[in-house]
Symmetry: C2
Subunit: 198 residues, 2 copies
Amino acid sequence: MANDTKERILAAALEMFSQNGYAGTNIRELSASLGLVKSGVYKHYESKEAIWNALLDQMIAYYGEHFGSAEHLPPVPDSPEGLVDMTMRMVNFTVRDERIIMTRKVLTLEQYRDVRARELATKHFLTGLTDMFTHVFTGMMDKGLLHRDDPKMLAFAYTAPISALIHLCDREPEKTEEAIRQVEAFSHHFIQTYGADD
Amino acid sequence: MANDTKERILAAALEMFSQNGYAGTNIRELSASLGLVKSGVYKHYESKEAIWNALLDQMIAYYGEHFGSAEHLPPVPDSPEGLVDMTMRMVNFTVRDERIIMTRKVLTLEQYRDVRARELATKHFLTGLTDMFTHVFTGMMDKGLLHRDDPKMLAFAYTAPISALIHLCDREPEKTEEAIRQVEAFSHHFIQTYGADD
DNA sequence: CATTATAGTGAGCGAAAGGTCACTTGTCAA
DNA sequence: TTGACAAGTGACCTTTCGCTCACTATAATG
């Protein structure tokens, strides 16, 4: 089927672009990794740049489907410990899922070159997380689990350090376990600081 | 003088590598930007990779000289507002100094490919900042300006969000002013949260 | 069974890449 | 004045790049 190969090309492109960047990737290797010859991929995409654009389209669509709308917001935890649990589930998933790791790496590598990569990077690494946890913390304040405070500021103060540790895992995968422990310690410290009494 | 051109080559390499990455940079363009022809640079460096390694040597040496030793630690502020002032001076400098911006971008682009870039990136973006502010916060606790708490944890919680905003400035320079205001707001919120009374 | 569209092949093209080398030029010490 | 050397030139080499095209194998359709 045509669509099958088309998808497989995008998957291989994600893998190679995330390792070597767009400029460092060549079509011959990409084709070979799919068991076909260079000219074969040109039956499906008219150029290397077309592959890149299709990959970005897919990443943008995926982000929109999974994190873009209000219906995908996480449930508000019922206890301070619930925040830690939710965080650890999210972090454990995001630092181990190969596809998500590669997506982050691609966005990191191409953020200065491509406008759409730049915008998606900011969403992925900063504003998306902040928005999500603004909602969570607003809910937790309503439930009396957190002291009243600026929920956006708290969301930023909470997600940015975790995001930094996720980037560390991408950069130095052998430190993943340690980074995850740091996330947990940070999360506990956070509820100790901002949690309503106990 | 030989050294002059050698230095100029490194400067041009930093500029091009930070824009297009190592793979996306070619020696012809690099030479042309210096007003000489491709073979000219091979009088000073034996290969593209040698230029890259020399540039990394220089970045590592620079980092060691300016942030590596205890003598370059910033003075401990005498008031909570002093922390904000110091932070704003540092951030204003680091997001406007072209050379430092380019250094961060190069480390960002090459962190997955080169071991030394990876290590320097972690120092630059994470551990270096944390170590520096661990010292600052320890001093501020001793002076009674901050509540007793784990200074390493506070340093991480303080520097990681600021680092995220610096990265945002690198990615979207037009947001620099807004990001700086966010740093200031965050810094104020931080001393309000952790500062002793007031 | 003939037709036709599609996925894939393999040879090859022009451009651009990194790198080499014989040569010129300018500078300074002997 | 001359000899030596470092800096820079321009032609050229090989390899690799993105991409094209005439062709084949296959499988579904009339």
